[in-house]
Each structure stands twice: as structure tokens, then as C-alpha cells.
Amino acid sequence: MTGEFTGAPRDVAIVACAQSDHRRRTDELSEVEMLMPVLHEVLERTGLTTADIGFTCSGSSDYLAGRAFSFTLALDGVGAWPPISESHVEMDGAWALYEAWIKLLTGEADTALVYAYGKSSPGSVRDVLTRQLDPYYAAPLWPDSVALAALQAQALLDAGHADEPALAAVAARSRDAAADNAHAQLRGARPQGEYVVRPLRTGDCPPVGDGAVAVVLSAGDRARALCARPAWIRGMDHRVEAHSLGVRDLTDSPSTRLAAERAGAFVRPVDTAELHAPFTSQEVVLRRALRLDDGVLVNPSGGALAANPVMAAGLIRVAEAAGRVHRGASDRALAHATSGPCLQQNLVAVLEGESRV
């Protein structure tokens, strides 16, 4: 039904998801070798071939690979001949999902493949992430990602929104939950450890690792044909805050709250939330921003504290939420992805399963 946009929104759903096992290092694999099994798995789940995909969109970062246009080599795994309609975001794959969703909403495509991957192991991800900071006032100081998160965590402690035991509890709950997640890198109880940058300890920080994720989107009845219980995207929105940390209230995330509002998250309660919070303190900020009460199951996958392949971890949150809808474990789930220092940019998607008759 490819054609011009009539203004009538279509229903779009996530119909399949796949991800790699996330590991500390994958020296024996190039990016495309790591990604390809995930692409094959997600297509096999739907019975689709590359030729059936109307639009392909990916998220990754050259700074992780240390090479310009590194995503073009990963495209080999997609089968880009004959020519395909393709796009890339130098961001977490959740933003690639947003682009694909728009493409389907406007009728430009009926089915989309979205994937993301990150190999953090070749470099030092703490140093790599300093290069996304403003080049005049922040980047010359090389403040690493843990340091910036620690400034946010201390602000949270000073405001009385959490204490160190509360942060440790987030870490413990996440890694306990990951015990059931075969893909996760850190599973089961582990010590909180020493301070990395105080007040954040080893346990408050995400693992560094390599991994990939892929999802397939489809519209309308095609989605129902491809999946027994599609995860319908009821809304999706993303918002950004000022880059400079010194002008923001680090204890709050107004961009997350606004994105959630625009995505329709507050219309009815959700039963599950997959939050992209690489640091324990950021889960506290997000829970408050989203007004999630104890009735909501948060990060049953273990979240980014259990596996955090940079550029893929946000799309993995969407895939985990969609997977629960597919399995009937959730009827209405919220998925969140973040990018930038201290939750600068945030994306929220609301996914629903149709009630079975």
C-alpha cells in the first residue's frame, strides 16, 4: 500500500525482535559478523526476506569503531543489492526506530527493518563519550561519562531523592532480574564494589560490552499476519534539553516527562517500563520523571545495568518491551531510550497488545 500520505495515521507494530548475547569483547568478530546472525534471526521470525523490507534504518557510532562511515560495512549484512531504501542515525537505534516509524506512518513503506550495534571493546568508552560534549567549555576537560553521571548522582543525594543504599538496591534488583535474561552480560548478584567516581560504585555503573539488536516493524493487517500478537506503537516522541549540565536541574528529566506525555504514556497506566538508565541514579531520576509507582514492573530484562552495548541499549529497551507484549506478559508497556550526558535526550514509546477475543 505504498503511496502518498493521506493524513490518516496507520497502525504500526513491532512484529519481531532479536538480539545478540552481549559480551565484554568480541575480538573474533567484525561488526558485520556480530550483527548478521541477529539480522537473520529477526527476519526468520517473520518469514520475511530482504526483498520484503521497504525501509532499513540503523543506529551506530563511528567513534566507537574509530573509523569513518563504519556503518557502511555493516550494511553488507543486510543485502543491499539490488539497491534498498536505507538510512542511518549516528545515535542509539531507538532513534532509527523513530525514523522508521514515521516512514511507515506516512505510507512510504509497509515494513521496516531497524537495527543497532555497538562494539565498545576496541576503545575506552568512557573517553570516547567525552567527544560528544561541547568542544569549547567541556570536551577540553575530558570529563568521562562516569564522572558526569556521578555529578548527577550527588545532586540526587543532596536533594534527598536517594541514598547510597537505594542506589545499591537498584543495582541488585536489575542484576537479579537479568538472571533470567540469556542475552545479558552481567547476571545475578554481584558486589557494589569500590567507588569509580564517588558517589558511584562499580555496581552503579553499566558493563562495557559489545552487542547488537534488530526489530521488524509492519503496518496494519500485515503486522497481524506476521505476528500472533503485535506490539502496537501507540505513540512515540523524543525531546532534548540544553547541552550544558550547569543550566539543567540534574535531579529531574523534564524531556522524558514531555516525551512520555506526547507519546500518550499518561493516558492510561502502563504495566511494564523498560528504562534506559545506564547508571542506578538515572533510574531514580526517570522513575520520578515518569511518575512510575511500585505497581509498574521496571526493567524485567535487567536494563542497561546488565548489558549496555552503546548505541544499541536504547533499542534493546524497546525490543524487550515489545517482546513482553508478544509473549502476552504485558498489555501496555513503556520503553525509554536516552542519549547524551546525564539524560540529555530522551525518547519514549508506548506499546500495546490487542486484547485477545
Binding site: 573474533e28 567527544r131 569549547y136 568521562d144 558526569l148 556521578a150 548527577q152 567516581v197
Partner: protein, 321 residues
């Protein structure tokens, strides 16, 4: 695979960036030990200053001077400084709201230990001995007990400033970026490079379309499937297309002009590239038959030279152009 190749890789680049008028005034001011901010239309003073209001996007030009003393609004103790960070002994990262400012500046605080740091601590700028017009002109902050701590600041208010200083204004910054990696080429390329070290060329065949890729990257870009069947190719091949290079590359000891060519090794379905030697540059042609030439201890062919065979028929390589 236990014998995966790996090698250090350094990516280093001096990013040269120009400054807008407000950033220029701020960094020129730091050189003169003066901290400038910018006032928004709502009256808020932003330090460090920006050219556009983060809330309204309105252009900002109203420069003000603030104090070199301030208050820590949040902090984090860094027990293990990393390369490039402001201090090489353990220090605190801090956001500091300078007296007269409404927003906070990110920097480092020199302190004996975490017990000496708290939110609300009064601090002052420690200027770098040599200042060039960069954020690092502030060497760091240090505790400042010269005035009592506590209560609402009665400290210095921001005062209007022309933004002009003696000497040339700083109009740009050079931000050197260096990142260190360990490059690992993965399974397919490791096998290719290992064979080359034995003076053999191996490609990989796609199980679906049967094409042989050299060098193999692990996937068939047409079929999107893994290429796994290893195939010995070459050593001889055919020039499918070429160009004449007239500009000498930095760090490359090759006389110009020389010929850079696409070469389809016998048995391969994709041409690789290499330099052609052993023949005058203006006599290289499509269809020329060539073979690799190895240097004494080279891990890959240095160049390709003519074999002396008759040229290949166009039909035998037209699909490989």
C-alpha cells in the same frame, strides 16, 4: 578463534573551531583572568555564556562580568584521573555557580580528599600560569574560606562588560582529540591477512550467489549472508580499470606519476586494488595481466607487475569492472 589479529590504532585530530562573539569574549576574558557571562532577556546570567538562550533561542549579546569566586552546586570525587583531565592527582569534578551567575560551570576542584568537598563549598578560580584563551586557562578551582559560608550569597553581582580586552581577541580554539583503540579485524579479514603473510591470497565464496569476495569481509553484500567457504585465488590477475596518480602522498615513498589499479585476481568475483609497477605508467591498460611482487619481509604485496602474458579478453572481466 584464539589467533585473532589485533593492533593498536590511534585516532588523533586537532579540531579547529571558530568562536562566536560571546564565546570569543569569554575565552579572551579568561586569558585576562576575567570571567564573563551573558545576560538573557529574562535577566538570568549564564556562565559559561552561550550565543543563544537555551530556553528561548533568542540571540544573546549582553555581556557581564562575574566574580572568580563561587559555590559548588554538585560534585563527584575522581580517585583516578584520566588522560587529558585538568589535574593528575585525585580531584573532585564540580559544577560551580560563580558569584553573580545563575548557572554553573563544569571544572575540577583541587582538594586533599573527598572529606574536604561538599555541596555549598565556597571556591575560587586558580588561574593557569600560561593562559591562551581556553577553558583550561582556569587550571582548576580551590577551596576559598576567605568569607563565611552559608545563607544567601551577598557576594558580587554581575556588572556590564564591553567584552574588550587588551591584545588580539581569541577567535578560535584548537581542540586536540586523541582516542586509542585496539583494532581487531574479525574472522574473515584475519584469515585473509594471515594467508597474505604466507604469500597466498584467499577469498570467501557466498553460499547463495557463489561469488568469491577478495578481500573477504565476512558477508556477501548482495545476499546478506555469511561467506564461509575459503577459496584460494590468484596469484595472477587482470587489470580491470586504473588511474594515474600525480600527487605524492604524505609518508609514502613512491615516485609520481604511478598507476593505481583495480585487479581481479584469477578466481575472484570482485576486484581489489593495488599499485602497478615494472611498466611505464602510460603503458598500463585494461586487460593487462599482472602478478604480485613481495618485498623481503612484507606481510602483503608491495605492488603488481606485468606477467608478460597476452592481455585478457574484455569479455572475461567485463562483469568485474
Amino acid at each position: 578463534m584464539s589467533d585473532v589479529l589485533s593492533a593498536p590504532m590511534v585516532v588523533e585530530f586537532p579540531f579547529t573551531r571558530s568562536l562566536g562573539p560571546v564565546q570569543s569574549a569569554f575565552l579572551t576574558g579568561l586569558r585576562a583572568r576575567t570571567v564573563l557571562g551573558v545576560r538573557t532577556t529574562a535577566g538570568t546570567v549564564l556562565v559559561p555564556p552561550v550565543e543563544y538562550d537555551p530556553e528561548t533561542a533568542a540571540e544573546l549579546r549582553d555581556l557581564v562580568e562575574v566574580a572568580a569566586t563561587g559555590t559548588v552546586t554538585t560534585w563527584a570525587w575522581n580517585p583516578a584521573p584520566r588522560r587529558g583531565q585538568p589535574l593528575d592527582t585525585p580531584f573532585a569534578w564540580v559544577l560551580v555557580r560563580l558569584d553573580g551567575a545563575d548557572t554553573a560551570l563544569l571544572h575540577a576542584l583541587d582538594a586533599p580528599g573527598p572529606d574536604a568537598v561538599r555541596t555549598g563549598l565556597r571556591v575560587r578560580v586558580r588561574w593557569a600560569a600560561e593562559r591562551t584563551g581556553a577553558i583550561t586557562d582556569i587550571a582548576c578551582f580551590e577551596a576559598y574560606e576567605g568569607e563565611p559560608y552559608g545563607g544567601e550569597p551577598t557576594y558580587r553581582q554581575a556588572v556590564p562588560h564591553s567584552g574588550e580586552f587588551t591584545g588580539d581577541a581569541v577567535t578560535g580554539v584548537v581542540a586536540p582529540a586523541r582516542l586509542d583503540y585496539t583494532y581487531t579485524p574479525g574472522r574473515a579479514q584475519t584469515a585473509y591477512l594471515a594467508a597474505l603473510a604466507e604469500r597466498r591470497a584467499v577469498g570467501e565464496r557466498c553460499p547463495r550467489c557463489r561469488k568469491v569476495y577478495v578481500p573477504p569481509r565476512g558477508a556477501c553484500p548482495t545476499c546478506g549472508v555469511a561467506t564461509t567457504e575459503q577459496v584460494e585465488v590468484g596469484p595472477r590477475g587482470t587489470v580491470t580499470t586504473f588511474c594515474v596518480v600525480n600527487i605524492k602522498a604524505k609518508n609514502l615513498d613512491i615516485e609520481v606519476p604511478y598507476v593505481y589499479a583495480h585487479i581481479a585476481l584469477d578466481g575472484a568475483d570482485l576486484a581489489l586494488h593495488g599499485r602497478i609497477g615494472g611498466i611505464p605508467y602510460d603503458q598500463v591498460r585494461m586487460g593487462l595481466r599482472v602478478e604480485p611482487v613481495w618485498t623481503e619481509d612484507g606481510r602483503h604485496p608491495d605492488h603488481y607487475r606485468p606477467t608478460g602474458e597476452p592481455d585478457a579478453d574484455y569479455d572475461t572481466y567485463k562483469e568485474l569492472l
